[in-house]
């Protein structure tokens, strides 16, 4: 008996042609083939997808929640990156 838990995989599904693969959840599987097969059964029983990505969870690197301010705050005061910052005459209609 190996007593070893199968690794965790993160599952990403493309709902239809033209859309991104989107994270839908995770599951356990012994290897990549089983991960894809299990993902099919667990996450696409109702035509939720046409393509599956699986990534072993240990390969995902995430930013630290405590770095949230340092990373994302700087974008907060850069309103000039948004189209509404620029005041243009009404008669210009859509630009």
């Amino acid at each position: 008996m190996s007593n070893k838990e199968w690794p965790i995989w993160e599952v990403f599904i493309r709902a239809k042609q033209g859309l991104n693969h989107k994270h839908v959840g995770s599951l356990h599987a012994a290897d990549v083939q089983m991960a894809i097969e299990n993902a099919r059964d667990v996450y696409t029983r109702r035509m939720e997808g046409i393509s599956i990505w699986v990534v072993e969870s240990k390969h995902i690197h995430a930013s630290e929640p405590s770095d949230q301010e340092a990373l994302f705050e700087p974008a907060n005061d850069k309103i000039y990156r948004h189209p509404t910052f620029y005041i243009l005459p009404e008669e210009l209609n859509h630009m």
Binding site: M1, S2, K4, E5, W6, I8, G25, S26, L27, H28, A30, D31, M34, D41, V42, R45, R46, A62, E64, P65
Partner: protein
């Protein structure tokens, strides 16, 4: 200046900001969620057993494919929920061993036997109906992974209830007197256990207040139970069945149905392990785990062998 983490946390909750796995959270919040989500997962898994009992004896192919699909969905629900629980720091194997040792609980409703085909109707209608009532507010639970899992679950539940009700409807409107009696008998046996699914009365539910404050729970046990009874009574009328509660009557003033006293002694007995099927259910789960061991081991061995072979290939190249 010292930042009070607990206050910041509560502020996020109050502002409806979801908590995600790597965010700071009070230990008690983590533990409460872990217990609730893992119990919920166990309930989905054990919940496959009473209905699984009838798959081979479904009366026709249409009923059989529906029942298989429903039971498979419940397996899926268990898996979504185990994944959500794992983000709180307990491994899948630990959760399963808590179930198998009897340390972890699951919903008592699954400790009742399914003795006739009408039980498949009553379970879908009442048990899944009560589950939906409980689960819809959980889609807005404060813990992100739990809420997301519940959204998936709720999307799938409505077919469960409808197929159950359709079974009851067929027995009651197209069946012979014996079949209609079978439907009534199933309602008689499942009614009280179903309304107990909402848990103890609010005054006897000591942890509810904290769960409400943390927005794990949004609606109280008694309120959910009342809602369930109010929507279910007219459904029983359509079937022409009688709910086994002589005190059940519409209260104009309250705008709700009044109902009889729940036998909590029975509930406590079943929770304590003395229900009609507790031993059988647990044994089925433990056997499934033990008998599947060689499969898990073989898959692990195969994966290791293949990884080695692949590594050899890259070296050679």
């Amino acid at each position: 200046m010292e930042i009070n983490l607990e206050e910041v946390f509560q502020q996020k909750i109050d502002n409806e900001i979801k908590i995600e796995p790597r965010d700071w959270m009070p230990e008690k919040y983590r533990k409460t969620l872990l217990r609730q989500i893992s119990q919920h997962a166990h309930s989905e898994i054990v919940g496959m057993l009473p209905e699984g009992n009838w798959i081979t004896r479904a009366p026709n192919l249409r009923r059989k494919v529906a029942l298989i699909a429903k039971v498979q969905d419940e397996a899926g629900h268990g898996l979504y929920l185990y994944s959500a629980a794992e983000t709180l720091g307990m491994s899948r194997d630990e959760m399963l061993s808590e179930l198998h040792s009897g340390k972890a609980k699951y919903s008592s409703i699954f400790n009742y036997p399914t003795v006739t085909w009408a039980d498949m109707g009553a379970i879908g209608w009442l048990v899944d109906g009560a589950a939906i009532m409980n689960q819809v507010p959980l889609c807005r639970a404060s813990y992100g992974p739990y809420a997301r899992a519940m959204v998936r679950v709720c999307k799938e539940e409505s077919f469960h209830q409808r197929q159950g009700y359709e079974i009851m409807l067929t027995l009651c409107t197209k069946g012979n007197p014996a079949q209609k009696a079978m439907a009534q008998d199933a309602l008689n046996r499942w009614w009280w256990p179903s309304i107990m699914m909402f848990g103890p009365n609010d005054e006897h539910s000591p942890n509810s207040a904290q769960s409400m404050k943390w927005k794990i729970k949004r609606i109280s046990n008694d309120e959910l139970r009342q809602k369930f009874i109010d929507v279910t009574v007219p459904q029983a009328d359509i079937l022409g069945l009688t709910i086994p509660d002589k005190d059940l009557k519409w209260n104009e003033e309250r705008g709700h149905y009044d109902f009889g006293t729940i036998d909590w002694e029975e509930f406590n007995q079943v929770v304590a392990g003395n229900g009609p099927c507790n031993k059988q259910r647990l044994k089925a789960r433990v056997d499934a785990w033990n008998n599947g061991e060689w499969v898990r081991d073989a898959a692990t061995a195969y994966a290791e062998k293949r990884a080695k072979r692949e590594a050899g290939k890259t070296e050679a190249a």
